[in-house]
Amino acid sequence: MNASGRVFRYGDNIDTDVIIPARYLNTSDHKELASHCMEDIDKDFVKNVKPGDIIVGGRNFGCGSSREHAPIAIKASGISCVIASTFARIFYRNSINIGLPILECDEASREIKDGDSVSVDFSSGTIVDETTGKTYKAEPFPPFMQSLIQAGGLAEYIKENY
């Protein structure tokens, strides 16, 4: 599985309230959630995002509330992958559970710039910044999480195993 796209870069501690503000949590409709994604921090995100694009965050990406609406909004907006130095723990599990690819890589998180073209190879964890030509290596997922991802998320995994 691979991804490639243009980078939307944000800073440290991007919280779930800016990813999808609570005023829109009276719905769980994926398209509607996507239409407000990142609205409180980047009004142009929804206008500019194209299928396959990539979000690069800093430390503690997705901190705050447990709302699964946050990774859902990101995934439904067309984002193919989120790269960050670290993820907040609930966002991390939610992303794996719903099948939004995420990668932890501190160096890539610090160096990749807004608007760069980036490609990602999930099986090897390789991230290539096509704009600068630099290659990064993300931490691979433990085998259990890889099996979750391969199953297509937690629901499929449970169906197969329980």
Binding site: V18, P21, R23, N26, S66, N94, A155, K159
Partner: protein, 418 residues
């Protein structure tokens, strides 16, 4: 093993577990609210299970946008209500009985020491105060928990907080946890357990402990857990909780580090916008004028919080132009406050008292901020746009500090005030 490791080992049927190990643990309770449950219910129906694993081990608490704030919220609540009915969920709480989930479940005796609890709400870590392993998850995890009664966990490493001494007057659990988050940062305990130990614990009331455990997530932690002592046991007995399962950390348990906290050194503390780690002594806030005060939430809507606010507000009036909204967290707390005469104090002081709801804490309703407005709040997050407009500001504080600030119209150290 640490206390967290011991609880998780028992729930996974393992003799021993180690940090980093992935386990499947049996769950004692699975919780959801009106925001997260509809997503979980949709997901649950995909699992091919006819019914939930145990209808007595699920709690559905529509507390965020209730009483229904708009048509969409009403429809989400209807979805939860229908599911509760069709699955005969015992612990579904309708408006009239419902309260803020993390105040309600302990009060109803639904969690006990040694339990493993997941909740599709990040502040599920609150029950760590009772010696419970409890943690926030998303809706898919909740759905899986409802289907099979299990959840996957990566066993966390732990940071030990060695609490000594006694808090000063009008300093509370809120100041302690804000102080700790200010010290270690909003990712200072990322993926880890926060284990509170030390002789200072006996000086903390159960309400102080609930507030401290509640905000463990604001340091990124998986859980924030206290050992079980006489106070815990008395609380569990009063609430009618199941027999506690008491786990203690081994004397040689391995911690990533130990941080010493002298409770006597902690001043009334305020977290400035837009991160809970941005802490300052309340006494530095004299020049910061406020428009609104919120006293309530799963962090600080308990009876001792209302008593603290009343102690400050008795015989006083909120500052001209300041709106002070007080939200008891549950119906029981509401009644207690009413019988104690606290509502007379609040209303005479010019405050408004609301029905239990999460409402303004997450910018839902019942106190939304306009552009440029500033609120001092006993809630738990002060992110951009959390309580309303993206150019509004939230300052996090204790009920003492919030009430004192309501009277002066500026951020005020409650000690300077009395």
């Amino acid at each position: 093993m640490t206390m967290t490791e011991k609880i998780l080992a028992a729930a996974a049927g393992e003799k021993e577990v180690h940090p980093g190990q992935l386990i499947m643990a049996d769950l004692d309770l699975v919780l959801g609210n009106d925001i997260t449950s509809p997503v979980a219910i949709k997901e649950f129906h995909k699992f091919g299970k006819e019914h939930v694993f145990d209808k007595s081990k699920i709690a559905l608490v529509p507390d965020h946008f209730t009483p229904n704030k708009d048509i969409k919220a009403a429809e989400q609540c209807l979805c939860v209500r229908k599911f509760a009915k069709s699955e005969s969920i015992k612990n579904y709480f309708e408006v009239g009985e419902v309260g803020i989930e993390h105040a309600l479940l302990p009060e109803k005796g639904l969690v006990t020491a040694g339990d493993v609890v997941i909740g599709a709400d990040s502040h599920t870590c609150t029950y760590g105060a009772l010696g419970t392993f409890s943690t926030g998850v998303g809706s898919t995890d909740m759905a899986a928990g409802m289907a099979i009664g299990k959840a996957w966990f990566k066993v966390p490493s732990a940071i030990r907080f060695n609490l000594v001494g006694k808090m000063g007057p009008r300093v509370s659990g809120k100041d302690v946890i804000l102080h700790i988050i200010g010290k270690i940062g909003v990712d200072g305990a990322l993926y880890k357990a926060m284990e509170f130990t030390g002789p200072g614990i006996m000086n903390l009331t159960m309400d102080d402990r609930f507030t401290i455990s509640n905000m463990a997530i604001e340091a990124g932690a998986k859980c924030g857990i206290f050992p079980v002592d006489e106070r815990t046991l008395a609380y569990l007995k009063e609430s009618g909780a199941k027999e506690p399962k008491i786990f203690e950390a081994d004397p040689d348990a391995e911690y990533e580090k130990t941080i010493d906290i002298d409770l006597a050194d902690i001043p009334p503390t305020v977290a400035y916008p837009h991160l809970p780690e941005n802490t300052h002594p309340a006494s530095e806030g004299k020049d910061i004028a406020i428009d609104q005060v919120v006293i309530g939430s799963c962090t600080n809507g308990r009876i001792s919080d209302l008593r603290a606010a009343a102690e400050i507000l008795a015989g006083k009036h909120v500052h001209e132009g300041v709106r002070c909204i007080i939200i008891p967290a549950t119906q029981k707390i509401w009644k207690e406050a009413m019988h104690e005469g606290l509502f007379d104090i609040f209303i005479d002081a010019g405050c408004v008292v609301s029905t239990p709801t999460c409402g303004p804490c997450l910018g839902g309703y019942m106190g939304i901020l306009a552009k440029g407005e500033r609120c001092i709040s006993t809630t738990n997050r002060n992110f951009v746009g959390r309580m309303g407009h993206t150019e509004s500001e939230v300052y996090l504080a204790s009920p003492y500090t919030a009430a004192a600030s309501a009277v002066t119209g500026r951020i005020t150290d409650p000690e300077d005030f009395v």
